[in-house]
């Protein structure tokens, strides 16, 4: 699955390791919550980075104390209509101040780019065959959003404040 970050397809060093798979000898791995709970010590002892993949039924709050160990938190969209991962991403960024990569995985739609971005995702696993150019069109429509979210971007509320402060 191509990985989109900051508008470009980038190499993805992370390898998913299933619940029953053997751990590879080296390199960063992404595991499930179950695997993390069962193999926490072994995973930490490998000396390479670990990431976690959460289903939309699971929440970052369940691994709150371990978040500092993760280089990636991948949040699943089992179907694009399941919007829970948007709220989980926002909590990761705003409540837990998680600084690492937050990755959108699963049923990913180009036209949702702004939702992913604004809720704090900074990496997106796009569909095989899709290109950065396909996504560029979705990202080119720059709208100043009304409300603050987790992207730290200017929004209408903050811009109006600034305008008022400048006496305009």
């Amino acid at each position: 699955m191509p990985l989109l970050k900051q508008g470009a397809i980038v190499d993805d060093p992370w390898v998913y390791v299933g619940d029953d798979d053997d751990l590879p000898n080296g390199g960063p791995v992404i595991v499930t919550l179950k695997r993390w709970r069962e193999d926490r010590d072994a995973l930490m002892a490998r000396g390479t980075q670990v990431g976690i993949r959460l289903t939309s039924e699971q929440t970052p709050g369940q691994v709150e104390d371990d978040l500092r160990h993760f280089g990636v938190v991948a949040l699943e969209f089992p179907a694009f209509t399941d919007g829970r991962s948007y709220s989980n991403a926002r909590r990761l960024r705003d409540r837990f101040n998680y600084p690492g990569e937050v990755r959108a995985v699963g049923d990913i739609l180009r036209d949702q780019y702004f939702q992913y971005h604004r809720c704090g995702f900074d990496a997106i696993e796009i569909k095989d065959g899709e290109t950065a150019a396909d996504w560029a069109r979705a990202t080119s429509i720059i709208t100043t959003p009304y409300q603050p979210a987790s992207d730290g971007a200017d929004n209408v509320l903050s811009l109006r404040q600034r305008r008022a402060a400048a006496g305009g």
Binding site: R84, Y86, S87, D94, Q115, H117, T143, P145, Y146, P148
Partner: protein, 556 residues
């Protein structure tokens, strides 16, 4: 009323460009219908029985004459010359062509309107008391807060795929004309002991298959926290609202299953963490929005216009119209005028392009260029001088908009029903028309007094039958259209859900049955009692007995 600044303009225009691109991709085949579906729904475009339907938001029901003329133009140019007022302060166009829908949105953007979030599992168009700003009993104009909520909820990135659609209503008055207790969130503007403005917040109301009255989640929320508190409720709902069953996905079910106390704790916990963040409303932004809703420049007038008082005395028909369609205004010498869009025998809510143009002209001449759309599918002129009432009445008669029936038995709410809707069990509009004809005699209607009649073609309850004093629900009985009757529903501050009175009636009998219910009321009522009051006092037995023992024993 609110006017877009450069940010509002930019947002709707960007949105039109984005949608135009999506439609082009659909037409070229790049997007399948399945992929296009969520995109069109974000812009209010449905696929119905016969064609596409476009639903346009009229935020909190306020329209200028210019906006209404634009809606007339759209009806004429892109549709078959009419529109349909919904029960949620929207207007629907039933025959737009897909390739023309971007043009319609572009035309709407010119007059500061859009169709964003009028469908889908999103926060829908925010509704408010249609008498906002002019009601005599009002604490503050609810539209200030509805506009603030509109902006916050528009394209909110986190809440575009909620478990289910989400409806918020605001009232600024203790007398609830916005049915806030039957919304996912109801907001009631209040003052605390120190005289500060804030809100009582209710959550978990709704109609549909499982009607529920909303419960208070917070008695008093200081005004600067409105958005953070709403965001906390939505976040909790987005995360734990049920997604396994469409019919159990509304927040009312979550509140019902977990209990209001537990939901309240989760919301407070979330809110504590975000309330002092960026969502805390700056005082000057509140002031900026409030300024748009400042009272217009009223003339200093006597409380009672003597000329009109005399006319009213001479003209009985006019007096009748005043009794049902004219309301008290905050400002001495002014009146609030309800326009009935439900003349005898017409489908509720339908409006032609010519009518819209005529209404726009009248609003310009008699109501400071502004009108309102009510959730009862009628229109309101909020700023009419009493001295203009007689002349306005005469002109409304010419347009067929002066039927003196607002709040009376023929002022029926009916969903589109089997004539338009794929989900329907039975027709709604023809039954509404027959009831309206049966009670055509206006003297009789006035004698009967306030009676809220509401009809839904199926259990989804788009016609709000649960909150009708008399409600009709279309059911299917071995392929025949039947109607179940509910009694005692009420949408306002005395909210209640109607109770099914007994076995359903055939289409042939249902109008007679309704008439019998009204007869029981007329026989049993006490001085000053409405139908609802009598029903609440005497209970359902006398009504039941009349229907099932005396009148229809064979049928039942």
């Amino acid at each position: 009323m609110y006017r877009y600044d450069e940010f509002d303009h930019a947002l709707v225009q960007d949105r039109v460009a984005q949608y135009r691109d999506q439609v082009a991709r659909r037409i070229s085949g790049e997007l399948s219908e399945e992929q296009f579906r969520p995109l069109r729904l974000m812009n209010g475009l449905y696929l119905q029985l016969h064609a596409y339907m476009l639903r346009v938001a009229i935020p909190y029901g306020t329209l200028s004459s210019k906006q209404l003329r634009k809606l007339a133009h759209i009806a004429r140019t892109y549709d078959k010359g009419y529109g349909h007022w919904t029960t949620r302060q929207n207007i629907q166009f039933n025959w737009p062509k897909l390739d023309e829908t971007p043009d319609i949105l572009a035309e709407l953007a010119e007059v500061e309107m859009h169709a964003i979030q009028t469908s889908g599992n999103t926060i829908r168009n925010v509704t408010a008391d249609a008498y906002g700003g002019v009601a005599a009993d009002e604490i503050e104009d609810p539209r200030i807060w509805a506009e603030i909520i509109r902006q916050w909820s528009t394209l909110h990135p986190e809440f575009s795929f909620l478990p289910r659609k989400f409806k918020i209503a605001v009232t600024g008055a203790p007398h609830d004309r916005a049915a806030v207790r039957f919304h996912d969130i109801g907001v009631i503007v209040k003052r605390n002991w120190d005289g500060e403005i804030g809100f009582e917040v209710l959550v978990g109301g709704g109609l549909g298959r499982t009607p529920m009255i909303a419960k208070t989640i917070r008695q008093f929320l200081p005004k600067q926290h409105l958005l953070s508190y709403l965001e906390a409720i939505l976040r909790v709902y987005n995360l734990i609202g049920r997604r396994d069953n469409k019919y159990k996905a509304r927040i009312k079910i979550m509140v019902h299953e977990l209990g209001i106390d537990e939901v309240g704790e989760m919301v407070e916990d979330e809110w504590e963490r975000i309330k002092t963040g960026e969502l805390e409303l700056p005082a000057d932004e509140i002031a900026r929005i409030r300024a748009y809703f400042a009272p217009p420049e009223y003339e200093a007038l006597p409380a009672e216009d003597p000329g009109f008082a005399a006319k009213r005395f001479e003209d009985r028909a006019c007096a009748q119209w005043v009794r049902s369609n004219v309301n008290h205004h905050k400002q001495p010498g002014y009146a609030i005028v309800d326009l009935s869009v439900k003349p005898e025998g017409q489908p509720p809510g339908d409006v032609t392009d010519a009518q819209m143009d005529a209404v726009a002209d009248l609003a310009e001449a008699y109501s400071m260029d502004e009108l309102r759309v009510t959730h009862e599918q009628n229109l309101v002129f909020p700023y009419v001088k009493q001295s203009d009432l007689y002349e306005l009445w005469r002109k409304l008669i010419e347009q067929g908009l002066a039927t003196a029936n607002v709040g009376l038995v023929s002022d029926i709410i009916a969903c589109p029903g089997l004539d338009y809707c794929a989900l329907a069990n039975a027709r709604s509009i023809p039954v509404a028309q027959r009831i309206s004809k049966r009670f055509a005699d206006l003297d009789r209607q006035h004698d009967i007094g306030e009676l809220r009649m509401k009809i839904s073609g199926c259990i989804n309850a788009c016609g709000h039958h649960h909150v009708g004093h008399i409600g009709l629900l279309g059911v299917d009985r071995r392929g025949e259209e039947y109607y179940q009757i509910t009694l005692g529903g009420a949408p306002g501050e005395d909210a209640s859900v109607g109770k099914i009175i007994g076995p359903a009636f055939s289409s042939g009998d249902v109008v007679d049955a309704v008439e019998e219910l009204v007869n029981v009321y007329v026989e049993k009522r006490r001085e000053g009692e409405r139908f609802l009051d009598t029903y609440r006092r005497i209970g359902e037995e006398p009504f039941k007995t009349r229907l099932y023992e005396e009148r229809f024993h064979a049928a039942a």
